[in-house]
Amino acid sequence: MSWKMFRQFPQLLSGSVYSLTGNRLLDIGLCGIIASIIDLDHFYAARSFSLKAATSLDRRPPLHCTSFWLVLLSLALVSSKNINFYNVESGGNVVLDTITEAWVNEKLSPEILPHKADFIEVMMEQIDQMEENVLQLQKTDLRSIIHRQELERIRYLIRSYLRTRLDKIELYSLWVFKNQGVLSPQELVYLKEYLSLSVAPLKNLCDRMPGPCGQINPRQMEIAPDLETHVFAKSKVDLPDTIIVNDGPREEEITINKDSQRIVPYASIREYVRNNQIKLI
């Protein structure tokens, strides 16, 4: 009986740790080893190394106390449930949703938005881990096909997101250089290299040109995103303040409720997009 119970316990324990691998061999091995180790207390109770003394005890050795293991077992059960819940609800889903939303916003906003490098990093780690796990599956296994397809989809998402940002960095290079806060460290390196390769030589060339070209300064070469451009926006929350739309000499105030959709100038909702209260659609 003890064998059976101890076989289940590590399975739960390892089940919660290796729930993604589904590696049954490891489970079975662990069960065997742990169950055997527990029987070592026979020797402890008998205070002798002889097998005979160990198998003919008059009382139960300390580690064979069932109630202790039952309590531990139920604790493990509860905690493994919690761990799984945590993984599904706040691990994969939220990060993926955040990246998807950031991707759409980045695609639709005129300016470059604050980076989400920490989310990307978490997702890349998950992808790496998942890739290792998938390697252990057989290639023809249906699950392997689905996993591979999901990895491809997420990689596409991340690639497209980063590429959109790089496009904006190249287009608005000098303007972005003045507003570096939105860039991730890697993007900043890219921007600096891009500037030294593109803008600096252009300026050198202009310096030698006669006429108006010779007097060009960096400010004139700068391309700034047009924040007055219009966007389609959807609010994720009831906004506490009204937003102000400048229309020539007039100013208009609008209240925005949760889930309402509007066409508005980007400049009016810029702050809300940057802190994720409004998303672009």
């Binding site: 994969g92 249906l142 689905i146 700068e222 391309i223 047009d226 219009h230």
Partner: protein, 205 residues
């Protein structure tokens, strides 16, 4: 700018019910969440892209979502016709999902009629969107409510409407608010933008 393929990518993340033709008791731990276990004949909810993959391998039958029903869609069409505003659609990606599920070898019955019904609703909505965009442009103003307009419809409307709005704003805006040299818009709209800034500066002279 988003294109229709990218919006279809988002639609593929929506969920759909399938009836598997195989049994696999193991839960598949996807990054986006768990799916399964699959039991032959027992319905089970998966993302559409999984359903499409399984379907391609003849491993499942796709069940139409509740709203993909001829009678319901016809009611919806009447409601859409009767209302001045956009009505709420049963799904944010109704067109994308219908397009994905009603392919040529679809499991769903009356695929042709369903496609037609969806297309009718789409036509009414897009016509309405064009008409209100026209009124909006004529009427002036820089903002408008577009509740319940879905992403694909917006995508259909976006290039023309936003460009027109931007151009109109630049033509009417006080000159000190922008400098033609320092402003640019990414991609395709830059051409019309340079046109608009050129014409506005000519006007000011």
């Amino acid at each position: 700018m988003m294109n229709t393929a990218e919006i279809e990518f988002l639609a593929e993340q929506e969920e759909v019910t399938i009836i598997p033709k195989f049994t696999d008791q193991r839960v598949v731990h996807l990054i986006a969440g768990d799916i399964g276990p699959f039991r032959a004949g027992i319905p089970c909810v998966v993302p559409i892209w999984v359903a499409k993959t399984l379907r391609k391998k003849q491993k499942c039958k796709i069940v139409a979502p509740e709203w993909l029903d001829i009678d319901l869609l016809e009611l919806k069409l009447e409601e859409e016709k009767a209302s001045r505003f956009f009505t709420q659609m049963p799904s944010e990606h109704y067109m994308g999902i219908a397009h994905l599920l009603l392919s040529d070898d679809s499991d769903i019955e009356h695929a042709d009629r369903l496609r037609l019904a969806i297309k009718n609703i789409w036509d009414v909505r897009v016509a309405k969107a064009r008409a209100s965009a026209d009124t909006f442009l004529r009427g002036g103003g820089r903002h408008a409510g577009i509740d319940y307009l879905t992403q694909l419809e917006i995508c259909n409307l976006r290039p023309l409407l936003l460009d027109a709005l931007d151009t109109k704003y630049r033509l009417s805006a006080p000159l000190e608010n922008f400098s033609a040299l320092n402003t640019s818009v990414a991609g395709s709209s830059s051409l019309s933008q340079s046109f608009s800034s050129a014409s506005s500066s000519r006007r000011s002279q």
